[in-house]
């Protein structure tokens, strides 16, 4: 009887498992928790007693100083613009292309999809030099186009969505066709609603990738006006010391932790709100292998 309802192992975990998991939990959360808390300590305390937190000495000084010294607002704005446009392009065109790859037979399909698979294996850095030159030719260095268009319809997104859409039964599409639905209508009104969980996973992953992207922005758009949040963060230390002659290590550290916290929080909140979609998304995307 028990055998039928046991897809997962049913033994009670031993105490050792709990200890191991708790230790890992602490290790995984400690760096972030430490940074978030320490940012509210007086700068000198951060380096003098890094392991303690005294609530009576709570301060926002690091934050106010950081907002003065670092153009983090501009960074957020640039990241938001890229997120909006690049995200929208990926979320629409990747599933659309994936739909064609999954459900139609057409000339060059295997060749094109083979090319997609090969690019998945290529290190992104291979493309950095020629892409940068391409941007120079187009006059796009330090523009939003440069941040948005390359990689806008990500090969991985197409690959993943193809897996997801392949699982949609053909009968569903044929039924819609019999009902007089156009080809795009089939995508929009049948496929999209059915693959919503996969799309949610793709959305979270896309937001995360764009928000955290660093290599391409730092190469293609590193001017102060165009710098994304991550690029601003990466030049933080220079910025602070540059703006404050003789800024000491404690000041820099305090502002650095404040800036890192500000950058961490939006994604943490998003993740906590959408964690189910996110984890299911990764699961769905990787099951194939």
């Amino acid at each position: 009887m028990t055998a039928t309802q046991a897809p997962v192992r049913r033994e009670r975990p031993r105490i050792g498992s709990h200890v191991l998991l708790m230790l890992l939990l602490a290790a995984f959360l400690a760096p972030v928790a430490w940074a978030l808390l320490s940012a509210f300590k007086p700068a000198n305390d951060i380096i003098r007693s890094p392991l303690t937190f005294d609530p009576t000495r709570f301060t926002l000084d690091n934050y106010t100083a950081m907002f003065q010294d670092v153009p983090i607002g501009q960074g957020f704005l640039n990241t938001a613009i890229v997120l909006l446009f690049k995200g929208a392009i990926t979320m629409f065109f990747a599933p659309l292309a994936a739909f064609a790859f999954a459900k139609y037979r057409f000339v060059g399909r295997n060749l094109a999809f083979g090319a997609v698979l090969i690019t998945l294996m290529l290190p992104t850095i291979v493309l950095i030099i020629p892409l940068l030159l391409e941007m120079k030719t187009l006059g796009w260095v330090n523009t939003y186009q440069a941040l948005i268009l390359p990689g806008a319809v990500d090969a991985f997104a197409v690959f993943w969505m193809r897996q997801v859409i392949s699982a949609v039964p053909d009968e569903l599409l044929d039924a819609a066709r019999v009902d007089g639905c156009g080809e795009f209508g089939i995508f929009w009104r049948v496929v999209v609603p059915v693959i919503r969980p996969g799309l949610a996973g793709l959305a979270v992953l896309t937001i995360m990738n764009i928000y955290n992207d660093f290599v391409w922005p730092v190469v293609a758009a590193s001017s102060e006006r165009m710098a994304t949040l991550q690029v601003v963060l990466s030049t933080l230390a220079q910025n602070i010391t540059g703006n404050r002659i003789g800024a000491d290590y404690a000041t820099v550290t305090g502002e650095l932790l404040a800036a890192s916290s500000v950058a961490l929080i939006p994604l943490l909140v998003l993740f906590i709100l959408l964690q189910r979609h996110f984890i299911n998304g990764i699961l769905a995307g990787s099951v194939k292998g």
Partner: protein, 311 residues
């Protein structure tokens, strides 16, 4: 939850074939549709993917420095790199980081995934979320925190070790420790992701195989090693390939944390490549990226072979 969500959604009952005749008029549109659907993707893919790739290939045979005329130099860039100590040093550093990262990650990943796969585990949801937190945090922010945490003088890590009487360690300033510190950052950042992937593999294993083993009286460790690991082989190999690609491309970590130092001990393959760009030595950089691609592909195919051979 192993059912595909798509299968659950209520399919409208297949309509009666009364409207068949309308099919003929839409056949052409049906044939043209896929081309329209893939066109935007292919446009971006060719403009910013395929074209640059061929451009790199051509560039790697020239000595172009970004301006002026490019001179064809044949295989010079390749022979220069292949006989250059710094190039091999960067590969060696990446290989060392691979050894510090991937085996540990797979062992810890399998253990944690197996524990989390137990439905009776308390706080299961909390663990799953907590282990993923590092993966969603921006790398640059975390790398900055790493610099502060592992500072030799003022860092929290040395302060904590000091409580137990361990003398100060120059985590980021000594050649011996810089690599492990960087590897730790990478492990911290990506192990949760690997756990999720392995969990997905575990969930496709039929529980019945364990029943049999239990009846035979196999111990927990025995079952893990003789049943779980072999059945999980495909997923593990997938994870290994993913991480191999990631480790050999590692760039942002050394860029922010160590700038490749001390004494080039953390100049990874990816970071070394970036150095060519900053020196405007584009021909060499292009050749370097191709050598890297070949290496990564050979490694990936090697792992896939390994997998196939055992099947």
């Amino acid at each position: 939850m192993t059912t595909i969500p798509a299968a659950r959604s209520a399919a409208p009952p297949p309509a009666a074939p009364r409207r068949r005749r309308r099919h003929g008029g839409t056949r052409l549109r049906r044939r043209l549709a896929p081309y329209v659907f893939v066109a935007p993707f292919l446009a971006v893919f060719f403009a910013f993917g395929v074209y640059p790739l061929f451009f790199t290939a051509r560039l790697s045979f020239t000595n172009w420095r970004g301006t002026g005329a490019a001179e064809w130099v044949g295989w010079d860039n390749y022979t220069y790199l292949l006989t250059n100590g710094a190039f091999w040093n960067s590969l060696g550093n990446s290989a060392a980081l691979w050894l510090l990262i991937v085996p540990i990650q797979m062992v810890v990943g399998v253990l944690v995934a197996v524990l989390l796969n137990n439905a009776k585990l308390k706080l299961r949801g909390l663990y799953r979320v907590a282990f993923i937190v590092p993966f969603v945090t921006p790398l640059v922010a975390v790398a900055q925190i790493w610099v502060v945490l592992f500072d030799g003088r003022y860092g929290a890590v040395n302060a904590l070790l000091g409580v137990f009487g361990v003398p100060e360690v120059g985590w980021l300033t000594t050649g011996a420790w810089a690599k492990p510190t960087l590897a730790l950052l990478f492990l911290w950042k990506t192990t949760g992701f690997i756990v999720i992937i392995l969990l997905s593999g575990l969930q496709s294993i039929d529980g019945a195989v364990y029943e049999a083993a239990e009846i035979d009286g196999a111990s927990r460790g025995r079952r893990l090693w003789s049943i779980t690991v072999p059945l999980l082989r495909r997923t593990i190999m997938f994870a290994v390939v993913l991480q191999t690609l990631a480790v050999f491309q590692m760039f942002a970590e050394p860029f922010v944390v160590t700038q490749g130092g001390p004494y080039n001990s953390t100049t990874t393959a990816g970071y070394y490549l970036y150095n060519h760009i900053t020196r405007a030595d584009l021909g060499t950089g292009a050749a370097n990226s191709f050598l890297l691609v070949v290496l990564v592909m050979v490694l990936s195919l090697g792992f896939v072979r390994l997998l196939r051979a055992k099947d």
